[in-house]
């Protein structure tokens, strides 16, 4: 394939209640960053029924053009018809890159699209760059390749390149790009794509669709996370403590920060604490609070780790927090290696001090 004929950065946008979702706006910003570097366009891609003003909104939010399909049979998301339409669009227009949101829908859809196009898919990126990539096997330098930056499974990030294939497909984790401001004066081309439904794609049938209430726990959008580990089971003298006491302190601190500064504060936990299935924490410290490799990856402004030793599986889930405060009695706790603020002391002593200082300030 001639790589040069592939142009423009496509972004696959989703809507909720007729409006573009926040991750979609972030995705336009991600596309913008790449497109500006290579002097190409950001093209928003939308599938659905009765899209209304959403395509214009995409332009106002930073896209240069929109390719959309607005058909009754695309009203609800189904992987097979959606895959077919996106693949047809790609074959016709040949984009340089195609970005998806790294949410569940993106993870259901983008792998099939990538496989059908026989191209690479880099999942879960936190940033994108454009670089020249030298590939030793071909002894070739590929110009302007997308460097897709994702957290590696250790305490590292890795760059993924798809030098020889187009489009370069990548999914972007929500929360890593700032949406561009709404600019009514922006102009852009709206292209209506008119696909035909293929019966075979509707072998999966939607029986029912429900929108679940959003989880009460929203770690990803919290500004401050106070996380608990197994260390709350003991105090500085090694005496056993009811884990509820630790939880109570964390909640008191959380409430104080919410009230005083209007911050969004959440209580997090390590996998070890959740899987200990302590009776005292039942129904409170649940899986939806888990931070780490098999839980949520978070990057709040302030991450306060209470009694967390910091296994690598936990660290990878919170290492990008802007300020990490670690309180632990063990001077060798690995969490201290990545903490900005090291407090080698008893949390049952320190947290009450923190609370009283905050109150007094």
């Amino acid at each position: 394939m001639s790589l040069e004929q592939y142009r423009d950065v496509w972004v696959y946008l989703t809507r909720e209640d007729g409006k573009l979702t926040r991750p979609s706006l972030e995705l336009i910003a991600a596309g913008r960053k790449v497109a500006d570097k290579i002097g190409q366009r950001v093209v928003a891609v939308m599938l659905g029924y009765q899209l209304g003003d959403a395509p214009n909104e995409a332009i106002a939010r930073g896209a240069d053009a929109v390719i959309y399909a607005d058909e009754p049979w695309l009203k609800n998301y189904l992987c097979l018809p959606y895959t077919r339409v996106l693949v047809e669009m790609c074959r016709q227009y040949k984009p340089y890159a195609f970005l998806f949101i790294a949410d569940e829908l993106g993870r259901d859809l983008s792998p099939r699209v990538a496989y059908r196009l026989k191209t690479g898919l880099a999942t879960d990126n936190i940033d994108l760059e454009v670089e020249d990539y030298y590939f030793g096997k071909d002894n070739t330098t590929y110009k302007n390749v997308l460097a897709q930056i994702r957290p590696d499974f250790a305490t590292r990030v890795a760059k993924i390149y798809t030098p020889r294939h187009r489009p370069q497909i990548a999914s972007i984790r929500p929360g890593n790009f700032e949406p561009l401001p709404h600019d009514e004066s922006r102009q852009g081309e709206l292209i209506r794509f008119q696909p035909s439904p293929v019966e075979d794609d509707f072998k999966v049938e939607i029986i029912e669709e429900k929108t679940l209430p959003k989880s009460a726990v929203d770690l990803e959008n919290a500004k401050v996370i106070i996380s608990l580990g197994l260390g709350i089971l003991k105090d500085g003298e090694g005496r056993p403590r009811n884990p509820r006491e630790g939880l109570k302190l964390a909640e008191e601190l959380a409430e104080l920060l919410r009230e005083r500064y209007g911050l969004k504060v959440e209580i997090g936990a390590t996998r070890a604490l959740i899987y200990a299935e302590l009776k005292e924490l039942e129904g409170i410290i649940t899986k939806e609070r888990q931070v780490g490799q098999t839980g949520k990856t978070v990057a709040p402004d302030i991450y306060i780790a209470l009694g967390i030793s910091g296994a690598v599986q936990h660290r990878v889930g919170m290492i990008r927090s802007k300020n990490i405060v670690a309180i632990n009695t063990d001077p060798n706790a690995p969490i201290f290696n990545i903490a900005h603020y090291v407090i080698n002391d008893d949390l049952y002593k320190v947290v009450p001090q923190l609370i009283s200082h905050l109150r007094g300030q």
């Binding site: 993870r107 990538a114 496989y115 191209t119 690479g120 993924i160 939607i206 899986k287 098999t294 905050l358």
Partner: protein
């Protein structure tokens, strides 16, 4: 029914990971089963009790690392270092795709190999029935037909309803034929039907792996397999609950896409990836008894190890060669540049302009910057001038929250 559970060996500890220019060298690390795959095995166990058949564990990776994991899948209720404990009957057999040419695969090349492996599993069972069908067609004497059936049954290739040595199964097709209760034509019909049934498989996978964390391989395997079989194999990712429809030709699955809960009817054959929130259903005992005719002989504790040639894979599409993505050098995100130990670290009391000391320039410094890295003598001098202090909890609070606007005075 052929119930295929896709499993992955993942590094037990992600510390001390050995990579060579970004490619994981799995053979140099201890591998354990991907924790998310327990859901796939639980779902497989539900299906076996609901519709009968056999559970086949399928994986790809270096033989010395994967064989011990696969061995522990026969009895997952036992304590194991490699497989989480599960209160279920284990897999009936294991297929391991192992070939140096498969190494360094991204999700596309992995899905390609797994889909080829699944295609081969189906072919293998078709070939077994084809062998039997041919004998029957060629008017082989009943004793020869039974001999062949027994041989295939012992290799776990025929379900009880076709042939069985179980005393409880008195009416297998072959037995009925040997006893003269059905004729050759009827037997042929039954065998053809059993052969057609082989396409009604279900593939199960965890929603992601704990190392790659992509979740791509499940959906991509369904796509690859669609290509090889010439029929669309649908998939649903993030299934939290499912059951087989009463007609047993589809699954009714609930899956979670963020806060959207979709209830889907998915025709069999299909592929499901199971959400961490998935809990298996328990079919009624009457059903469990009825479907035993669809089961196979039992556990075959011999792992089938297949290379690229055996599964008919194009080496150009496997492993590193077949991977469009290339992992560049990783970058450490280690210790933060500035670290302060509360009650210990000496910090500047106030902002300091650039200054000269012993012919060298230092600074500028900001309030609460640590003195780390400055010559000891200089630190002592600064300290004696009262410019330094020990960093305290109060200072930390000031740094973290001092710039924030107070919206309400807490009581």
């Amino acid at each position: 029914m052929l119930i295929i559970a896709m499993l992955k060996g993942v590094p037990a500890k992600t510390t001390g990971v050995i990579t060579v220019s970004g490619v994981l060298r799995r053979e140099e690390m201890e591998l354990v089963m991907n924790p998310h795959d327990t859901r796939a095995l639980e779902a497989a166990y539900y299906l076996k009790r609901r519709v009968g058949g056999k559970v086949i564990g399928l994986s790809m990776g270096p033989e010395p690392k994967l064989v011990p994991i696969m061995n522990d899948l026969y009895e997952p209720s036992q304590e194991s270092r490699l497989v989480p404990r599960m209160p279920i009957y284990g897999v009936d057999e294991n297929v391991l795709l192992s070939d140096r040419r498969m190494a360094g695969a991204d999700t596309l090349a992995t899905a390609y190999a797994l889909a080829k492996g699944i295609h081969r599993i189906i072919q293998l069972h078709q070939e077994a029935l084809d062998g039997l069908i041919e004998l029957v067609r060629n008017n082989a004497p009943p004793a020869e037909v039974e001999g062949k059936a027994r041989e295939l049954y012992n290799e776990n290739m025929l379900p009880n309803k076709v042939y069985s040595t179980l005393p409880t199964v008195k009416e297998s097709y072959v037995k009925l034929f040997v006893e003269g209760r059905i004729d050759r034509e009827e037997l042929l019909e039954k065998l053809e039907e059993a052969r057609r049934d082989l396409i009604n498989f279900i593939i199960l996978a965890g929603m992601k792996t704990s190392d790659g964390e992509t979740g791509n391989t499940g959906p991509q395997t369904a796509e690859g397999l669609s290509e090889f079989l010439g029929i669309t194999i649908p998939h649903a990712a993030f299934v939290v609950d499912f059951e087989v429809s009463p007609e047993e030709n589809s699954v009714i699955a609930e899956r979670k896409l963020g806060n959207l809960l979709q209830k889907l009817r998915i025709p069999i054959p299909c592929l499901l990836t199971l959400h961490t929130e998935y809990t298996p259903r328990v079919p009624p005992a009457s059903v469990q008894k009825r479907v035993r005719l669809n089961n196979y002989r039992g556990q075959l504790r011999k792992i089938r190890i297949w290379d690229a040639t055996y599964i008919g894979a194009d080496p150009e599409k496997l492993g590193f060669a077949g991977s469009p993505t290339i992992v560049g050098p990783g970058m450490e995100i280690g210790r933060p540049p500035v670290q302060k130990v509360v009650g210990k670290t000496l910090v500047f009391k106030q902002d300091m302009d650039r200054f000269e000391w012993n012919g060298k320039r230092y600074g500028p410094f900001k309030k609460y910057d640590p003195v780390g890295g400055l010559p000891e003598e200089l630190v002592r001098e600064l300290e004696s001038k009262g410019l330094l202090e020990v960093f305290t909890l109060k200072h930390m609070i000031e740094e973290l929250f001092g710039g924030l606007q107070v919206v309400a005075r807490a009581v």
